[in-house]
Symmetry: C2
């Protein structure tokens, strides 16, 4: 049986679990790959650091380049842009195949790295980069290769789902739940990348690129986080039989492909609404397959390592059998839509003076901007706000542009006291 | 670009949709496969029959064998054992690759057919055979190839899920819901294969074979259907925060691998509990990945055709790139467990005389058989049954053997009027 030399870059949360699996499950892996996977070294910053798993000390090195230059397969689990990018390029340029879970790097340089792999007849795989353990990239690329994907909607960030789910079940405010999530280890000390939606936006770019056979980067993704979601928003949604989730959405329409991350209202009967805690799930719509959903752990050392190892076995299998790479589907030239052209439904909360004619003026503004109203609910306010009423409108799908114009005109009405919330609605 | 000749056997629910996709999406398919897929003919029984899709009349033939002998890829969508089995063998023996959705055939002859494909350096794929459109076989084989699956639990039959879901939401009896399902086209005129659990058992054998790298046949699967589930069972489950689903379960333990299909109680918070109507879903537990779920349409012409086409593109891609087959993982010799050795939890309803000492005798019997009780609830019966009480017990996991002995001894107690229900509980 052929032996393939595997270099591991990084021995942190994920890297340590990959090392463990390579060392303890060697026999099973060899059987499945048709080749022996020999872990030849682990590049880290601090050789002496205490590790989560037992690894022979002589495997550690700080010379990642030398390690790469002796390897057939390189598993990059350092994170960050540099040195990860240079090291991956070094490996691919040598014709070594690379497995990585580095979503930030892929969202920035995925197109270039894929091209470099292709030029060098090397394989580049990154199932772990989106939704951790959940097999989602391969089903999109392979299982759905005979179908046409029309939409992908994913809960792809565990931290924000944990926070929104806790707000939903306890009624607490964002800040309090964030603090609890930090105490429990579900949110980082600096939570910006998660709660600002940037981590989800990286994953949205990767998902959209594969689903639509093209190349989206982080900048192509419209991104809004969850920091402005209030307990009142969550309660109002609950009241209407809905739940707020941070979704990464990529959708094809005649006008092009729009990719966005924002808090989104979903009916509680939608399959994504049942995704609780830090779990992830990706919902896919395809012309023939209809609606599919893939659910599981979106992060964590061992789950993410499972995805890394699935890629590693696949890469090794192909190396062992000596076959050429499969034909890569031509990159389709696509129109990346401007955010203002994207269509969705909107949930709009207004505080208005409770006087005759207000409703008519509001309805008139919506109509003249071509935004049609699906449902409208009016509640008189409790005594503290006597003389005012709360309006809750849900619109049919319309463009962001039309919505913005509508809201601007509505805000100008003398009878409007405040636009209390504007949220997008999907799966309606 | 290489041209591959594709023979389609069958033009029914699924075959017609496959023909449509091959004819209308030829360009996209060629791009993704790296080869042109030329539909060279469609074998049917009745050439003149009216079809669901527009197909050039000269493609139809009744001579399946001649068609196969001129083809690179054969898509079998006839159903049934013969002539499907002989035709698939004919194709594989010639070195043509085969895609099929024929679960009954695979559950009976999967091991042989896979071996025949391997001997002839041909590919055999059957994603459509389990859970229709849902990519499940490939994720199990490929994405999880670096992990060890410990358990698979699937809702893999849409008819029975539709019936159980309707019983749950309406409180109606099995017979009434079955009739409604037949009227709506969700159940066949002869529903035996579905409600008896046999269709699910075929799929359980296929899932277990792939998840555990071995070869299970239909006969290895313990199979119970849903015909004995009453409205009272469903209501009692609901009352306890649970729901009854027909599950195909394959589980690895130290004693071997057990494969079974039976009505199963699940907590309503379990991801499988949220699978409504005729939808399917497969829940997978793996050592590193943890819990995963795959959800979607389990049947229907277009969804099933999507899975068939995914396989077809994969097969064509490999043919176009000229590579050898990937190494097939060695079949692991495994111990198929006797059903009596399988462990699960049980939900047991008893009607007893409401007299002192009954509870103690029952508890004593459970204890002496080594079946430990997790929860127990006693309700006095309404006046119609004065003097009797209802007991509801849920046990910890124990073997079928121990449970059978326990029930036999309990039934012998003079104070027991009736064992009103025995159901298995999972995901507890
Ligand atoms: N954690 C998850 O659940 C998860 C999920 C999906 C994807 N990912 C992705 O997986 C990657 C790794 O994540 P992680 O959580 O395992 O990270 P981590 O715990 O921070 O580990 C990073 C590892 O890389 C090493 N390293 C960092 N910079 C280095 C340098 N310049 N030279 C040599 N070694 C260096 C560190 O060495 P020392 O130990 O010596 O400091 C450490 O072992 C990231 O791209 C992340 O986005 C993670
Ligand atoms: N339907 C689903 O949703 C679904 C889902 C998953 C898997 N599957 C599997 O897919 C397969 C096809 O199912 P289906 O629902 O499409 O079946 P179907 O509607 O009954 O169609 C069967 C087709 O095969 C042809 N045929 C049958 N026996 C033949 C023979 N001896 N010689 C030539 N042609 C013959 C029939 O020809 P005529 O039209 O001339 O009678 C018909 O076109 C089955 O194995 C089924 O289990 C189906």
């Amino acid at each position: 049986m052929k032996t393939l030399k595997v270099a591991l870059l990084g021995c942190g949360n994920v890297g340590a679990q990959v090392a463990r699996i390579l060392l303890t499950d060697a026999e099973v892996l060899a059987d499945r790959a048709g080749a022996t996977l020999e872990l030849t070294g682990i590049a880290v910053r601090n050789i002496g650091a205490k590790r989560d798993v037992e690894v022979p000390a002589d495997l550690f090195t700080t010379d990642a380049e030398a390690l790469i230059d002796e390897s057939d397969i390189v598993i990059e689990l350092l994170g960050g842009m540099e040195p990860a990018s240079s090291l991956i390029r070094r490996a691919l340029s040598r014709g070594a195949s690379v497995i990585t879970g580095n979503k930030a790097l892929l969202a920035a340089q995925g197109g270039e790295l894929n091209a470099l792999a292709f030029e060098n007849n090397a394989q580049l795989r990154y199932e772990a980069a989106v939704a951790g353990a959940i097999p989602i990239l391969r089903p999109i690329m392979d299982s759905l290769s005979g179908d046409k994907i029309t939409k992908v909607m994913g809960i792809v960030n565990g931290t924000t789902n944990f926070i929104l789910d806790a707000m939903d079940s306890t009624g607490a405010q964002f800040d309090d739940v964030l603090k609890e999530a930090q105490d429990l280890g579900y949110a980082e000390a600096d939570p910006t990348a998660d709660v600002g939606g940037h981590d989800a936006a990286s994953k949205a770019a990767i998902l959209a690129s594969l689903a639509f056979h093209t190349d989206f980067a982080f900048e192509d993704v419209h991104c809004e986080g969850i920091t402005k979601i209030t307990a009142a928003d969550v309660a109002a949604a609950k009241d209407a039989g809905m739940v707020i989730k941070l979704l990464a959405i990529a959708e094809r329409s005649e006008a092009g492909i729009g990719v966005r991350v924002h808090p989104t209202l979903l009916r509680r009967t939608h399959p994504l609404a049942a995704v609780h805690g830090a779990f992830n799930a990706v919902f896919v719509e395809a012309e023939n397959a209809g609606e599919l959903m893939f659910y599981g752990a979106g992060a964590g050392g061992a789950p993410t390592a499972s995805a890394v190892m699935g890629d590693t076995v696949a890469v090794a299998r192909r190396m062992a059998s000596g076959g050429p790479l499969p034909a890569i589907s031509a990159q389709q030239p696509v129109k990346v839509m401007d955010f203002c052209d994207i269509t969705t439904s909107y949930w709009i909360g207004l505080e208005v003076n409770d006087e005759p004619g207000v409703l008519a003026s509001i309805a008139q503004i919506f109509a003249s901007n071509g935004v049609s109203i699906e449902t409208l609910r009016q509640d008189s306010n409790p005594e503290s706000n006597a003389g005012t009423a709360e309006l809750l409108l849900v619109t049919h799908r319309s463009t962001e542009k039309a919505l913005a114009a509508t809201l601007a005109a509505v805000a100008d009405l003398a009878a409007i006291k405040e636009v209390t919330s504007v949220l997008r609605v999907e799966g309606n």
